[in-house]
Amino acid sequence: MRVVDVEAGYYPEQTVLQGVRLVARPGHLTVLLGPNGSGKSTVLRVVYGLLRPRRGTVWVDGKEVSQVPAHRRVGLGMGYLPQGRSVFPGLTVQENLEVGTWPLPRPARRAALDRVYERYPALKAWRDRPAGILSGGQQRLVELARMMVTDPWLVLLDEPTAGLAPVAAQEVYEEVARLRREGRTVLLVDQNVRAAVSLSDYVYTLAFGRNQLEGTREEFQQRMHAVVRDWLRV
């Protein structure tokens, strides 16, 4: 997955991303870091098609996909876990997962649900509960499971541990590591620099909507303290 010289913003007079470049190598876990407002989440929104770039291109599996609408991205093998809560609160856990099967061919839906319950057995106990009454960590698990219904090979995670208790956050990090072990391509945005970097293969940092640094985990770890100090000054 490649992001090439992307410029994007939410309002005509405002440009959030100013020529961002990024590569998420197949089977690797790439981490995107930066201070608040640097444009990390905007990069994921552009990659998933929720925000059209004004300039530049996004390439997935060798195809230019910048103009492909967001609802077709699942068909390209992409999965996206947006920032914040995104369960359908009035639908049960089972119904939330069923909505995730919508883009699949009808005969494949049952098997996809079975596979997800096998992968996340804890969900079985909550399947008939409205998702809105679950705890933050449980809702996060439902959101992750719902994303995995279509078995994506390219996974975009936007601050998956935000607002979670430490134990729940640790479980999410373990799931992120599992995605990486399974050979999926993962692009992770996270506020917890230390935890995210420890999982990563490659790290990018953004500042003011521009590329700042990039390097392997080992390269970044050597400079991590200086970089974070710099962000805190910003």
């Binding site: 998933y48 929720l50 609408p69 967001a70 609802h71 077709r72 991205r73 699942v74 068909g75 996206y80 947006p82 995104s86 369960v87 359908f88 609160p89 009035g90 639908l91 119904e95 939330n96 069923e98 909505v99 995730g100 099967t101 919508w102 883009p103 839906r109 809105g132 719902r146 994303m147 279509t150």
Partner: protein
């Protein structure tokens, strides 16, 4: 006032309430799921009445069958309204959408006046005039058929929304359209389905109303007011709450009709609306969130 007359009024109130619920459920759905206030809703109710009239006059098709024919025809009309009008105004202000739908209401109303004049019509279906006597109660067959039709359609819609994947996706779009998009749902297409279904139920409601009341092209705004009353009382987007609210409104109207002079009937209904808004601002629906 005899107990038998009171009972008869209550039975009529149930019939009336079921039809009010059918007339309102489409408005509730489009408002609850899509946030669209369909000002043209009652024009489609009126067109549904004339649709039944034309099918009966032209081909002798009875009203129940006409309602079933109306479903796909008006679903298509609603889908076209979404594709040609609402989709284009979706990215503009809400006021623009309201204005466009109000414009559509005027076009449909005036087009209907050109076609059918302002004369008041009655559906010339003889069985509707028959009166059944069941256990001492007198029930007009037309009302019974209209209520049965309404109950069947509302039940089908409720089953569709709760039991089918399409229904679950519609409810998901109503709760979080962005999350639905991320999961691969084409929200624009689902919106088109919702507007189509809302328009189809409006037209079927029009067929049911034609079995109970005379109708004319310029008199549909009363049904828009009634539909808003039911939606406000019942809360948004929930079929069962809309049914309950329709039944309440029907009961109130029927009982007020026999207990009070006619001029007080509307006052009672609007007082009920005011009290509902004051004490239960989100309607009778007990859900904490706006959920389907």
């Amino acid at each position: 006032m005899t107990p038998a007359l009171l009972m008869e009024a209550m039975v009529n109130g149930v019939f009336l309430g079921l039809v009010y619920a059918l007339v309102s459920v489409g408005l509730s759905l489009t408002l609850g799921v899509l946030g669209i206030v369909n000002m043209a809703h009652s024009a489609f109710v009126m067109l549904g009445s004339f649709f039944a009239l034309e099918l009966l006059r032209g081909w002798g098709i009875p009203p129940v069958l006409a309602a079933l024919v109306a479903a796909p025809v008006f679903f298509g009309a609603g889908a076209a309204v979404h594709r040609l009008l609402l989709r284009r105004t979706a990215s503009t202000s809400e006021a623009m959408g309201l204005l466009v739908l109000f414009g559509l209401l005027l076009v449909l109303e005036n087009g209907s006046i050109l076609m059918w004049t302002t004369d008041t019509r009655v559906l010339p279906w003889q069985p509707a005039q028959a009166v059944l006597s069941v256990g001492g109660f007198r029930v007009a067959l037309g009302r019974l058929v209209a209520a049965g039709l309404a109950l069947g359609m509302i039940g089908s819609l409720d089953l569709l929304l709760r039991r089918t994947l399409l229904g679950k996706v519609v409810r998901a779009v109503g709760q979080n359209p962005d999350a639905a998009t991320v999961l691969g749902v084409d929200v624009a297409r689902i919106s088109m389905v919702v507007v189509g279904a809302g328009t189809a139920t409006a037209a079927m409601g029009g067929v049911a109303l034609a079995l109970m009341f005379p109708f004319a092209p310029q008199e549909h705004l009363r049904w828009l007011a009634w539909a808003f009353l039911v939606v406000v009382v019942g809360g948004l987007g929930d079929v069962r709450s809309t049914l309950l609210a329709g039944l309440l409104v029907g009961q109130l109207e029927a009982l007020a009709g026999v207990l009070l002079p006619f001029q007080y009937v509307y006052a009672v209904l609007y007082a009920f609306l005011a009290l509902t808004l004051i004490f239960r601002g989100r309607g009778l629906q007990s859900a904490q969130e706006r959920v389907l």
